[in-house]
């Protein structure tokens, strides 16, 4: 840095300085460290009384499944939940952050949070990071103005939709929705359709797998159905259980409790200092 510059405090916001260095390194042949992505199929749909969100539970690190049963439906407010696809750290951090902001806002206003508030907070954050925060979200909830469902892309654009899918399994799930969605579904029909869409992602997309999580949000009530469906159980479990070959014969059993053998003496003044 030039010596004549005054010490200006950093202006805040993301510093893009290292991005140029990273580009130079990748050009020279350095492989960027792979990060934990959630592969993923996440969906949401609006039914008669509210919103249903669904997600698979597989987190991948390149070709390996890092977590067989992770939670992709994040809490934002008692009446708002958000599914996240993309980099796991980004979705966790961003939903956590906005969830805290919403809580403080609730204390300040004394009212329940609205879905568009969460939407605007998330959208502003993601846009300011120009797509580098790799979080693709399906945000759904029911507030005083009714049920809402939005998708938010990593660069900060949003859509308001009656049914939405995101993640690598989004096409498989969307094909189910496009073929079978109708307006005014009942709760059971909605749950069945969401489970079908997630299963379509689980079985047809390699980045998604394991179980189906579902969250049903209606006016004044929410149900978080963790592992609603487990379509991938361990198939070959021995019905006989485990048994080991006969060991050497036991001739005598004698149990001596050790606490009687040890004396514990507390010496005053030599107690451990904290």
């Amino acid at each position: 840095m030039s010596q004549s510059s005054v010490d200006v405090p950093p202006k805040g916001g993301f510093s893009f300085d290292l991005c140029k260095r990273n580009d130079m390194l990748t050009q020279k042949g350095l492989k960027a460290p792979s990060f934990l992505k959630t592969g993923t199929t996440i969906v949401g749909l609006i039914f008669k009384d509210g919103v249903i969100l669904g997600a698979d539970t597989r987190a991948t690190e390149g070709p390996i499944v890092a977590d067989k049963n992770c939670e992709k439906i994040h809490y934002m407010a008692p009446n708002i939940y958000c599914c996240g696809a993309g980099t796991a750290a980004d979705t966790e951090a961003v939903t956590d952050m906005v969830s805290s902001q919403l809580r403080l806002h609730r204390y300040q206003t004394g009212r329940d949070s609205r879905v568009i508030t969460a939407l605007t907070l998330l959208k502003k954050h993601l846009f300011s990071y120009q797509g580098h925060v790799s979080a693709a979200l399906v945000l759904g909830g029911v507030d005083i103005t009714g049920p809402h469902l939005h998708t938010i892309y990593p660069h900060g654009s949003t859509d308001t939709l009656p049914f939405a899918t995101m993640g690598s399994g989004s096409l498989a799930a969307m094909s189910v929705f496009e073929a079978k969605y109708k307006e005014g579904l009942t709760r059971d029909e909605g749950i069945k359709l969401v489970a079908e869409a997630i299963c379509s992602g689980i079985f047809n997309d390699l980045g998604s797998g394991s179980n189906v999580d579902i969250c049903v949000i209606t006016k004044g009530n929410k149900e978080y159905l963790r592992n609603y469906m487990e379509p991938n159980p361990r198939t070959y479990v021995s019905s006989k259980g485990y048994s080991f070959t006969k060991k050497t014969e036991v001739l005598l059993t004698k149990i001596t409790p050790l606490s009687e053998k040890v004396e514990i003496v507390e010496v005053a003044g030599e107690a451990m200092e904290e």
């Binding site: 009656p162 096409l171 969307m174 079985f203 047809n204």
Partner: protein
């Protein structure tokens, strides 16, 4: 995708000639093909669009053609390469007819021939930029197979190319079953084509369905599918969320 040909003496003219004659990118392309086996044979569906990059240039391209008496070939990808393949197959069937021995090429033979052609071209770094679907019925046995531009070939009860892989395959895996009737088969194909119409930007609403049975090949007249846009959320998407989009 650029391929480098190892040439030892670095003769500029030679390199230029070799490079300019290899297929590097497709220009006029057709989108997905979806096909299933059913009770009496094979059903195949395709739309009639030919895109020139992001322009919809041609709206009357028949991407499914009958080959001989027993087979139907559908292609997605570069249209000019598809026409070249039809020419090769023409020569093949003509030569076969000239033997005049009462035998005719069945779908399995044609599929094998196409696999060899596609794989050989890929090995010379000059591929025919297509994914081909070969369906047919001979001696009562139905056959449905696929060859990609790098020579990957396999046989299955239902196949889809391009975007159909992501959008139609999940539906087919769920709802296809053996010995479907003609009406059920057409309904299933139309379901897949409708999803493709909604979600594939290069799909158009003008499609043909072809059927191959023991009797022969018939390709239907072009028709269009009904679509539904009347969701209440579509009428006023930001009702209750003013300011968002």
């Amino acid at each position: 995708m650029t391929f480098t040909i190892p040439i030892d003496n670095g003769d500029a003219v030679k390199i230029a000639e070799a490079e300019s004659q290899r297929t590097l990118y497709p220009y006029v392309t057709g989108t997905s093909i979806v096909a299933i086996k059913y009770k009496d044979g094979v059903l195949m569906a395709s739309d009639m669009g030919g895109s020139y990059g992001s322009t919809l240039r041609y709206k009357n391209i028949e991407r499914m053609q009958a080959i001989g008496k027993h087979s139907l070939l559908g292609a997605s990808g570069e249209i000019s390469d598809f026409q070249e393949i039809l020419r090769y197959l023409d020569e093949l069937t003509l030569n076969d007819n000239m033997w005049d021995d009462g035998n005719s090429l069945g779908p399995k033979e044609i599929h094998n021939y196409l696999t060899r052609v596609m794989y050989n071209r890929r090995n010379k770094f000059n591929p025919l930029w297509n994914t081909l679907v070969l369906g047919g019925v001979k001696n009562g046995k139905s056959y449905l197979g696929m060859v990609s531009m790098i020579g990957v070939s396999f046989e299955d009860d239902h196949v889809a190319t391009g975007f159909g892989n992501h959008l139609a395959r999940p539906i087919l895996r769920d709802e296809w079953h053996a010995d479907m009737s003609f009406e059920d088969g057409v309904k299933l194909l139309e379901k897949c084509m409708r999803v493709l119409l909604y979600r594939d930007r290069s799909a158009i609403n003008k499609l043909q369905i072809a059927k191959i049975t023991e009797e022969g090949v018939t390709v239907s007249q072009p028709y269009s599918l009904k679509t539904f846009w009347e969701f209440s959320s579509f009428h006023n998407p930001t009702a209750g969320a003013e300011g968002s989009w």
